[in-house]
Subunit: 233 residues, 2 copies
DNA sequence: TAGTGGTCTAGACCACTAG
DNA sequence: TAGTGGTCTAGACCACTAG
């Protein structure tokens, strides 16, 4: 063993038992001592692994008693909202699927408060972590000569940064909407998952200083990657 | 010293420097070794303190280099969405301010899709952490004979649990909306802060299995308590 | 009282950074 | 190479739980 870090062995072993249903909501986990004896790993390291699971909301600790499996996570999610840091540290894990100029749907016209015949730039990107496909990200921006269509800008830009040519970042107001959704056919295909699996859907809308919408974005994360690094600047 | 835990000394010392502006965005923090020497605290404990700050998004670590202050947190927030766990561990830190039956505002009629003359139960609660007043929480529920007006139920119930008499929890669909807001006069008074300070506003809407809205909630957290434990079940 | 998690130390070795 | 953070151990003592 020990190809991986020892504390990750703990994490993975316990996570597997939890996710397989072997350990159910409210069940007690093996004690730290038991885990030490089972694995031959030292206490600090066992604790570090347990801390990861506590931190991720899978389990909780009760002093004097033990660790217990937490309530179901179906409607339970954690977000770490900081687009810049995500982008900074994993620039190569965002890839552009395509960029298009489209005639907007009715919904989009409403969302972006568009005048008739105004077209929209669609930027579709995929977020990955190594080999794993995590999320699909679509940005919608009313088309104008200043629209960010240079690929290089798109790869690294956070949503608000796409507008810095026109607007000071300071003036951009954001609005977020979060819900639980399911993968549609297209998403399932791109993310190589099955249709209908749960996703966390995050909508972002950017407004200028006059409260006019200037951009609309939808990021959909596969539900199993409940620890989300999303886009907020 | 050492009235508090040693790792909290580290947390508080560094947090004060960051929040006072002495350490600015991008600045390097003292190294682990330096912190050990400055405080006489052992390395593991210093690291535990630093881990808290990393976890809370204040700083980040770069192996081989050091710890750095993260980007501004003005539009940057972290949520830990798990109402039950919050309630479990801090039941006495939620207090009811008042419960009322009101004639709903226009906005509320729209949000809850109310028929004319339907009244609404308003439950106003305050969330505190020790002496610190953290958040204001308002729930709006269409009035009916089954509305949860027994005080005991209110203290401990999470938002979806308020409906378990009528609906299976499983059938309740939730919708969240997050934005950055500012304290109004009432909130400033209750939370003992100044008017206009930034708050994170979280709206929750619950729907039944037919997508009819059955509850609407707004929780507003003082912005400085960026580590939010909110209400999602 | 025995068992459990919480805090803390001292020390070791590794991986990465930057001159 | 010197300095930094990352992982890990063995051991100590404390606080809490529950019989």
């Amino acid at each position: 063993m020990a190809v991986r870090n020892a504390y990750l062995e703990i994490v993975e072993m316990l996570l597997e038992r939890i996710q397989s249903g072997e350990l159910k909501q409210g069940d007690a986990l093996p004690s730290e001592k038991a885990l030490m004896e089972m694995t031959g790993i030292g206490r600090s390291t066992v604790r570090k692994g347990l801390a990861v699971l506590v931190n991720d909301g899978y389990i909780h600790a009760v002093q004097g008693k033990g660790y217990y499996v937490r309530a179901e996570k179906s409607h339970d999610f954690r977000l770490y909202f900081n687009e810049t840091s995500t982008i900074e540290t994993s620039a190569d894990s965002i890839s552009i699927i395509n960029v298009d100029i489209i005639v907007p749907s009715e919904d989009l016209v409403r969302e972006l408060n568009l005048t008739p015949n105004r077209k929209v730039v669609v930027i579709k990107r995929m977020i990955t972590d190594g080999e794993t496909r995590i999320a699909l990200d679509c940005k919608y921006i009313p088309y104008s000569a200043k629209s960010p269509v240079v690929e290089k800008e798109l790869y690294n830009a956070t949503f608000p940064q796409m507008f810095t040519k026109e607007k000071a970042l300071f003036d951009i107001i954001k609005n977020l909407k979060i819900s639980v959704d399911r993968t549609d056919e297209e998403m399932a295909k791109i993310l190589r998952t099955r249709e209908g699996s749960p996703v966390v859907r995050i909508e972002q809308k950017l407004y200028d200083e006059n409260k006019n919408p200037i951009g609309f974005g939808v990021t959909r994360f596969l539900g199993q990657y409940f620890k989300i690094k999303a886009i907020s600047e």
